[in-house]
């Protein structure tokens, strides 16, 4: 430990590094020269030369480039250690450590669950409402994770199915007075049907092409909603959607919010449960196999067309149900809630958390929805911070914050009655 840190310290001051950093500093000073140094004062018709700015930029980029290199070295050091095959306790990720101690992992998840249950009781309505949004995004991230993380289908425009769910509830309620609980499954199933309908023409597409086509579908959806006034009431949207109630009780706003919170929480748990079970099943394995190699999967007897439809259906259902809850929560929906930006946001959650990993999707969704809420002070820099965080994750943790791990099986050595599945 001390040995490596002195090594890094040595690197920190080596002549080569100083040369490199100086070069970077000069380059940045040159690049920013026109905007940071020269300032034309149009009132006096004079040019101001702000040399101080140049010095600040020089020093800052010099230091930053050193810090950057330090981290890169550390990362590369880690990588080469892994390649050597040195498997020391130090290098285990948190996830792996938890995996080895199922008791700790279990009690940890129970603690989180208890915290989640008492959350609305110990916080105000505003906080609860934020948390509902966050949990809705957790469901979306989990759902998209089936498509992107498990099945390897790069689908943009996922928010369409969220929108389908929301509009299903809003319209069914408006025209037929359908209540929340009935709309809940209908929204999911309807989103699933739309998902399958979209999937059929794109079955043959892969990778980037699939991404572009689904992105286009997303835009078409939004534009249709904005213009088909008879159906969707255009950009003005649909208002006065009833909040969810239970046992026909007359709830006030705060109670309804709490109820919505518990509905969403229960739904998150159901989603996790179902997806976890799907993952460790024949269906889940065929999805992962499709991600890994389509030609080999076909050679193993897996029908690619059918598997893709299954991936779409399994993934879009959750978005539809989440959409119904969203409509019930906000009581007002319009097309601007379902833009491409939202799709990208959900995609970022999956990538940030770790493709194909359930805890990853949850953590990714929570971070991306909650951070901006609690960083309101920096709201102007939100996009910048967002971009920087994503780049950093991609560079230092390319598999996401909580990478997925495969199920392991234990086998007794005896040849008869030889194995037992273990979590």
């Amino acid at each position: 430990m001390s040995n490596t840190s002195t090594e890094q310290a040595n690197r920190f001051i080596s002549l080569k590094d100083i040369k490199k950093s100086s070069f970077i500093a000069l380059w940045f000073m040159f690049l920013t020269f026109p905007i940071m140094v020269i300032k034309v004062n149009t009132v006096n018709n004079t040019v101001e030369w702000r040399w101080a700015n140049m010095i600040i930029i020089g020093v800052a980029s010099f230091i930053l480039s050193h810090v950057w290199r330090l981290f890169m070295n550390r990362r590369d050091g880690k990588l080469s250690d892994e390649q050597k095959g040195g498997q020391t306790v130090e290098k285990l990720t948190l996830r792996q450590k938890l995996d080895q101690k199922p008791v700790v992992a279990k009690s940890l998840s129970y603690a989180v669950l208890v915290l989640a249950i008492i959350f609305p009781l110990i916080s105000g309505m505003y906080q609860t409402s934020i948390m509902i949004t966050a949990l809705l995004y957790v469901v979306l991230a989990l759902g998209l994770n089936i498509m992107i993380g498990l099945s390897g289908l790069l689908v943009l425009g996922y928010i369409v199915f969220y929108g389908v769910g929301a509009y299903t509830y809003a319209l069914l309620n408006l025209h037929f007075g359908v209540n929340f609980w009935v709309a809940l499954p209908i929204g999911g199933i309807f989103a699933m049907i739309i998902g399958i309908l979209i999937a059929i023409p794109v079955l043959r597409l892969q990778g980037d092409y699939l991404a572009i086509v689904t992105l286009a579908f997303g835009e078409i959806f939004r534009i249709v909603l904005e213009n088909w006034n008879d159906l969707s009431f255009g950009p003005s949207g649909i208002a006065n959607i009833p909040r969810p109630t239970i046992f026909g009780l007359d709830l006030n706003v705060s109670q309804a919010t709490n109820l919505t919170y518990f509905i969403v929480l229960a739904f998150v748990l159901v989603t996790i449960f179902v997806i976890k079970r799907l993952e460790d099943s024949r269906i889940g394995r065929s999805l992962v196999a499709m991600r890994e190699d389509e030609i080999a999967s076909e050679a193993m007897g897996i029908d690619m067309g059918k598997t893709k439809l299954v991936a779409f259906a399994l993934s879009t259902f959750w978005a539809g149900v989440a959409g119904v809850i969203f409509a019930g929560k906000t009581t007002f929906i319009n097309p601007s809630s379902f833009t491409m930006w939202e799709s990208i946001l959900v995609l970022c959650m999956v990538v940030l958390g770790g493709m194909g990993s359930i805890p990853g999707a949850i953590v990714g969704a929570l971070i991306i929805t909650l951070l901006p809420e609690y960083l309101r002070a920096f709201s102007e820099y939100r996009m910048v911070i967002f971009g920087v965080v994503l780049v950093l994750v991609m560079v230092f943790k390319p598999d996401g914050m909580i990478p997925s791990i495969r199920q392991k099986y234990e086998f007794k050595k005896k040849p008869e009655s030889n194995m037992k599945e273990a979590e």
Binding site: R282, R285, D293, S297, E298, A299, M300, R406, F411
Partner: protein, 263 residues
């Protein structure tokens, strides 16, 4: 006896290139047959046509699984349907499911022989659990046959090269084939591993009643293993027969020497 696989006048064109040119080939039950030829002769393409990866331009691929009363024409069917019918293959350029464990790779092979659907996966009822357990057991047995059991929970990508080739065979065997098509199973193996592979392939044929068609450049392996050999060059069948006859065939010698002078 009807051959388990009967290929008649198989032809495959890629634009102007005729990669397989009217090739006839048949295999009887429990034979080990080799398909050889210089690089680019069209051997892999021949496999691709039989297993449905490529759609043949012309010709017939007819199967007659052991015990079946009727023959079936299978060209033009999708690869997964052909696998279901009992043909399984390995790939020359290894195509494992890299980020899945060794056991899972083999379990995927049993996909078509399983029935659990979405409802079964979610409810995890007794039937699904039993099926799952059986697949785990069966897969482990197959791994043992190919000496892979020490890698059970290893990711496929972390395996040594020879083991990856064997895993390809294990995975193909898991689909319960009557005919196994091996595309260069010994490529990249050291002599020791190749020697073991000969044993393994013989065992697969003898104990599992699987007929084997293999492509291989290692002549030692081809001569010791195969009962008959087919030789192709530029997509055309130039010779076929017992190993000793093939060794002496002037056409074959010319094809191989011709290739050597090119190299």
């Amino acid at each position: 006896m009807t051959p388990v696989l009967d290929v008649k006048k198989l032809r495959m064109d890629f634009g102007g290139l005729r990669a397989v040119n009217d090739v006839d080939l048949h295999i009887n039950e429990k034979e080990i047959i080799a398909l050889i030829g210089p690089n680019g002769a069209g051997k892999t393409t021949f496999f691709n046509c039989i297993t449905g990866v490529n759609k043949p331009t012309a010709g017939d691929v007819i199967i007659c699984p052991p015990g079946a009363t009727h023959t079936k024409r299978i060209n033009g069917l999708k690869p997964n349907v052909i696998t279901e019918k009992g043909l399984a293959r390995t790939f020359q350029n290894i195509r494992l499911f890299q980020n899945m464990t060794v056991l899972e790779n083999v379990m995927i092979g049993r996909h078509t022989r399983m029935h659990a659907g979405i409802a079964g996966a979610i409810l995890r009822n007794k039937k699904t659990r039993e099926e799952e357990q059986k697949v785990i057991d069966d897969s482990y047995e197959i791994l043992k046959k190919l000496n892979l059991e020490q890698f059970v929970n290893e990711l496929a990508k972390n395996l040594p090269y020879g083991a990856q080739r064997r895993l390809e065979i294990a995975r193909a065997m898991a689909t319960d084939p009557f005919l196994l098509l091996l595309d260069e199973p010994a490529a990249g193996m050291n002599p020791q591993e190749t020697h073991e592979l000969v044993d393994t392939i013989n065992k697969i044929r003898d104990n599992e009643n699987i007929t084997i068609l293999l492509i291989e450049h290692d002549m030692g392996l081809v001569m010791t293993l195969s009962e008959r050999i087919y030789v192709v060059d530029y997509g055309k069948l130039i010779a076929s027969g017992a190993p000793d006859d093939i060794k002496k065939d002037p056409e074959v010698i010319k094809a191989y020497l011709g290739e050597d002078t090119n190299a």
